[in-house]
């Protein structure tokens, strides 16, 4: 225990230098829409999208459907990537997009997401 003070100082410097170059944690969710497990809200949104597509949204509201897919993908990624607030915001956008598609399909608005 009677280490010289220089040795102690050297150990401290080494520890400091190692601690100084710490990296952030690993990211995830970059392609979350493909296979990562999703939250119920996202799953329901995905299901709604599929229903709309089945009702012909890919023909009668193709532009809005494409946009909705992108928003859904983005929301999924954000949810999986730890950006839950942003994911919520995108889900709101997604619902608006669904309503637009629904209007164009001439049907009743879809059931609100996440309920």
């Amino acid at each position: 225990m009677n280490q010289p003070p220089t040795l102690r100082l050297a150990a401290l410097a080494l520890a400091l230098s190692v601690a100084a170059c710490s990296w952030p944690s690993e990211g995830a969710g970059g392609l979350a829409e493909r296979d990562l497990p999703a939250t119920p809200a996202i799953e329901e949104a995905a299901a709604t999208l599929e229903k709309l597509e089945a009702r012909g949204a890919d023909r009668f509201a193709a532009g809005d459907l494409a946009e909705a897919r992108l928003i859904l993908a983005r929301a999924s990624r954000e949810q999986a990537g730890g950006l839950s607030v942003a994911a919520e915001q995108d889900l709101v956008r997604l619902r608006a997009s669904f309503e637009r598609i629904e209007r164009r399909l001439g049907a009743a608005p879809p059931t609100p997401l996440g309920q």
């Binding site: 170059c21 690993e26 990211g27 532009g63 950006l83």
Partner: protein, 701 residues
Amino acid sequence: MTFRRLFFLLLLVLSVSPQAFAAVEPVLRVGDVLTVSLPGEAAFNKDFQVDRRGQVVLPEVGGLKVAGMELTEATRTIRESLGKAYRDLERLTVTLKERKLLVTVLGYVKTPGTVELAGDATVQMAIGAAGGLAQGAQLDRFQLRRGKEQSNFDYKKYLDTGDVALLPELQPLDTIFVPASPLTGNVQIDFDGRTLAQSGDGAEERSSIKVFGEVNTPAIFAFKKDASAIDLIMRAGGVTRYAAVDQIRIINQGKPVVFNLQQYLDSGDLSHLPKIEPGATLFVPKQVEEIRRGALTVYVMGEVAKPGAFEGKQGASFIEILANAGGPTRFAETRQIRIMRADGKVDMFDLVRFTEVAGGKLPEVAAGDAIFVPEKTQSAEPSWLKTPPSRAVQVMGAVVKPGRYEWSDEMSLFDLLAAAGGPTARGDIAHIDILKSENDRARPVRFNLAAFMQKGGSLASVPKIQGGNVIMIPELPIDPSDNKSQWTRQASDQSIYVMGQVGAPGRYAFNSNLHFLDIISAANGPTGSADLRNVRVSHRNQAGAAVTKVNLARYFETGDESILPKVKTGDVIFVPDKNKDWLDEAPENTVRVIGSVGKPGRYRFSDNMTILDLLAEAGGPTPDAYQSKIVVVNLATGQDQARVFDLVSFAKSGDVRKLPVVRTGDTVYVPNTEQSEWKVFMGGVRDAVSILSLFALIARI
């Protein structure tokens, strides 16, 4: 005659008074004829006349002046003179055989010259001796010249009255001058005396009455007191059959008076008969043919079989009057019959419309009105003036036969366009301009015929054309990409603007039937460098500013028409360039890729892409890139975070779950190997060893 009476009276007086008898012996004068008798002398016993010099020429002694002497004195003078040549003169007697007048008659007589007349002869006898009056003699202005004296006398008045006192008593050597009538003129011609008399008897120009116009013998007549206008007309041979007897003009003392002979004859009222003053002028004008006027007259003119004035009955209808005039001819323009009212108004009547289309009410025709049926305008008629402006419309611009067309109100715009041959191929029928004139003001109306033809609609929405309207069909620009020379012909509110990365940016004619793709295609479509995801449409002509962002690329991917914006005239379409200035790219639309990559920069990103796409686009990591520690910084409200992506590990495992979230607005940083943990550690160790060495050195010291 007076002289003779006086003479006898004197003789009577002398017979009563013997003392006075010798005193009344006649005084000898020129022209007297003396008988000088001397028995036994052959040279005498004959008559000797007192010549112009007042002398008698006797044998042997010559001229002996006796004029002015009494006979006794003359006898004595003769005796004394003859006594010089003859011895025995006891039986000489001188007697006054007869008295004669030597008078010269000059002027307008048949044989002017000196005439010898009986001593008591009158002017009339003198003229008779001169062969009588020549034609053209002015009777009322004879002149008598005696010595240096001259007097006028009115021979006509003497002829009228027979009053000898009106004639001057003639004396020897008098000269009677018969003047010519002023009517004979300045040129000597032989003419008929009857003609002369017909031309009037007025000699005094100031007082004579001139009668001319529609009378049988216009003439200048001497003024006669109390002669009426009718007297003058009668003297002028009466009026001709063309005379306007109700319009006779009389100028009395410079004041014109209209004498209505018809009215006078109808009424017998003398107050209608104007007085004639000296020097008056009476003119009987010619009656203009067929002018008839009456309380119930209507006039029918123009293209009817029998134009003229018609005495109508109260309540006669328009058709009855027209039928009485024989009806319209085949040249009549029965659409434009005009009724000119007595008060100056003009009404139009369309007979064709009445008979074939509308029926309705016939126009009222009152007395004094005139119906005018104009001539039909032929299509080849060179004069366009026959159609009045109120009955014509002008069709201009892009029609096959622009021009001025006759108009009738039951026709429509389509009739008119068809008559004009229809619009040409270049006619912009979506913007037909109609200029309506009302009360000296013109009001433009625009009609979209193209839309009406496609969609139809209420016929009431088709503008109602009226006479005087102007219809203009504008022409479409010939080449949209090169319409600068004609750009003024294209109204701003009919244009749309296309700018940026299209084949032919410019100003295009546009109407509401056209589509976004129409106009993009008209502009030759986007160019290769067009940023299709960021096409912008600025909507003008509306309250507030509005811009629609159009992702044309998505349209091409999905074919969703709803992506295409609704554009209207006046809008601006802007197709930006992909290689735009970095300032124009909003930070939230891009991902920044920095560090050890081939092409660091800002990259657009879509949510269907991953960090791998991004790295590939940015040229991939460089050889010195620290691929295990690629850092992604996510910017999110309240949740900003940094995450590491291990590309090497991902490449080995292929685990997509290791891919980090990347969205637009994020930043990707690829560090180099200098910043690897080992290198940093070793660097730290190196630094620590150096410091320790330093400390050890210090400690030894």
